[in-house]
Symmetry: C2
Subunit: 202 residues, 2 copies
């Protein structure tokens, strides 16, 4: 094929295409938008990326990403220090914070146990969680893990590890999501929803 | 709302969300991916953006983006210097080059004439095109403009401007796109396709 585009442009497109949510086509459009307006698009984006690269670190307590360590959540005295919500990823933590439903602290595992992928307890931040619980002051650990085989395995293992510490271990409720029509649900969700049925008060 | 995310992260998400093809949700996912792997994602992307910002310029002849000026297309002696394909944007030029169907040169107008948006001939790179044609050596100008009211208006105006230069002025064929089912086509496309019908050889 005849060369018609510069290697600098192709390198930019290739890097953008690696971002989740951007395919080769949209990466090309994004690169074009950046290059057509270097002063108002390309350079400002470079600047905020530079800021983020310099300041954002992993919180050594919970595993969240923040410019301070411990992170703003771990440092917030108004949050309930006695409840730790265990999530797989920082993305899950962000989703819960956006919903604004959890008033306690978090702990990011960094994934799930997986025999298939060869991820054992030492590959996740499980030790950190057990140390936090051992440190005292924790009343409840909420396992907010994905409703997958790996998530369930991880929850089971953590429950077992925490059994003798005396803290309450809970997991997220399962059932039909808000706004979900029964017709579209898979069998597993329907079974879980039926098992988790609640008696209505009269 | 309680502050739970650092301003550096929010600034990065806001900037990413301005890219075409990325909404607020996917920008958040992209930011997270960058921040979770700073060494293998964030910094390499910053590096290629820096390279592009330093090297990529607008070709002073045709308006393409490239690291050399005149661009690699304008400098290619093997291309047909006598045919200039006029496009609205660099994205259009890239689309034609990807298809590999045009063997001549290009000219990027930078948009279309638009009474509604107040864009006149002086707001586009029309003067450059007329100067290239006046410079001689041009046999044909292909108007590869969008099949929109503005595209048609711009084509009409350019055709008029080029009328006395003696060059052949053509525009792209119109009709049913490849792979298109008639049922899904709009009335305008069907009308144009019927008008542009071709007799089959027996």
């Amino acid at each position: 094929m005849r060369v018609w585009s510069s290697p600098e442009i192709e390198a930019l497109i290739a890097r953008l295409a690696r971002l989740p949510g951007l395919g080769p086509r949209s990466a090309r459009r994004a690169a074009l938008a950046l290059l057509q307006e270097p002063e108002t698009r390309l350079k400002p984006l470079m600047a905020v990326m530079g800021d983020a690269a310099q300041t954002i670190r992993t919180c050594s307590t919970c595993g969240n990403l923040d410019s301070q360590n411990p992170c703003v959540i771990c440092s917030d005295d108004e949050r309930d220090q006695s409840v730790i919500c265990v999530v797989e990823t920082v993305g899950d933590l962000w989703a819960l914070e956006r919903a604004g439903v959890h008033k306690g602290l978090y702990h990011v595992l960094g994934g799930t146990l997986s025999a298939l992928s060869g991820r054992g307890p030492d590959d996740l931040n499980t030790r950190g969680l057990l140390e936090r619980v051992d440190g005292g002051g924790v009343r409840e650990v909420v396992l907010a893990l994905g409703a997958t085989v790996e998530g369930a395995t991880t929850a089971h293992w953590l429950h077992h590890q925490l059994a003798e510490t005396g803290v309450t271990v809970s997991r997220l409720g399962q059932g039909v999501p808000m706004g979900g029509a029964l017709e579209g649900m898979d069998d597993g969700t329907l079974a879980a929803a039926l098992m988790a049925r609640r008696r209505l008060e009269t």
